[in-house]
Subunit: 209 residues, 2 copies
């Protein structure tokens, strides 16, 4: 969050023009198919200037959706001790971020994504490319199963945001983190590593058929 | 859903005035502390007219939030075969409703609740009084544990709405219902009936202490 405070370098108009171009590009074409060069062209600036203002493509993307934490810092902490207990560590870290002032900013993004298709696309891209794909990579989850496993984790954690932080449904809204970790950690663990039945979508052939 | 089509009885203005008064009252004081009499007074009509237009307090409440399905119909179906397998039945019924045209209307309510504190309160009241409390009652879940258990279920199902129907994160957005039921049913089952650790929030006393 240090980068959010203090004086920002460069001309604020140019920064804003680049950010707008980046936001449009990421939402329209997705993170993977968007290049710094294309954003620079669309903003009418040199690509070097985009790097100068925003750093890498990852960092530029985070700036467009104004997310108040950096998954590149958090994910390695969660994954550090391997797959055992990762469900509980993920839930605990998640609660720590969302229970902090950063959570208020994240909730605003979440709200906006519900009513604005463009923001929803950015948030989906963010989850897919910056959070879920990286997390399953760090945890060395079977790439064939990783997308469904990680979108199930996303469903549980997005619902936690809805119920605890936005609808504020009790008692989950005020439950101590330890209680939430004990209840929800095993869900996340099972989604990442457990037996979920058929994961590929193809119907099972009847036995002996 | 039949009640949504065809000619509605009564003066549309009076209906609208009653609905507005009901919406304000339910959001401000909650479902339990709101009476038909108070709504009638606030709308400047006779309580009998409120009953005539909208039926019971439950039915009036459903009309205020424009929910496209009636939990009083669905919950007994889910609970009919008892606690065994209720997780899978709940997820299957949930997907059937949300994958249908009714889901589009429900998603609109969900979106609105994210950005409007009044709608959020109505949705919270709806979930608490019309869905969760009834469901745990039908399933005879320990009343001391029912609120946390049911708010955990709500968190998983609200997240399913977010990821499958609003963000449309793949592969969960397009996963066949059977696959979702196999993956998420056991989560719901565990939240309703499993060991979740400490459920009361009080710190455990050390052994022998």
């Amino acid at each position: 969050m240090a980068r959010r405070s203090g004086r920002r370098p460069g001309n604020p108009d140019t920064r804003e023009v680049i950010l707008r171009a980046a936001r449009d590009a990421f939402a329209e074409r997705g993170f993977d198919r968007t290049s710094i060069r294309a954003i620079a062209t669309s903003a009418g600036v040199d690509p070097a200037l985009v790097h100068h203002y925003f750093g890498t493509k990852d960092q530029l993307f985070l700036a467009t959706i104004d997310i108040p934490f950096d998954p590149q810092e958090l994910l390695p902490q969660i994954a550090a001790d391997g797959i055992d207990g990762v469900g509980e560590r993920l839930v605990r870290t998640f609660l720590r971020v969302w229970d902090s002032p950063a959570g208020t900013a994240a909730a605003a993004l979440f709200r906006s994504a519900m009513n604005n298709e463009w923001t929803a696309r950015l948030l989906r891209e963010f989850l897919e490319t910056q959070v879920l794909r990286r997390a399953t990579g760090l945890l060395e989850i079977d790439p064939a199963e990783a997308p469904l496993r990680s979108s199930l984790v996303a469903s549980q954690m997005a619902g936690m945001v809805m119920v605890r932080y936005i609808l504020r449904l009790e008692p989950l809204a005020s439950a101590p983190p330890d209680m939430v970790v004990a209840a929800v950690g095993p869900t996340v663990q099972r989604y990442l590593t457990g037996d979920l039945g058929q994961l590929t979508g193809a119907p099972e052939r009847p036995a002996g058929g």
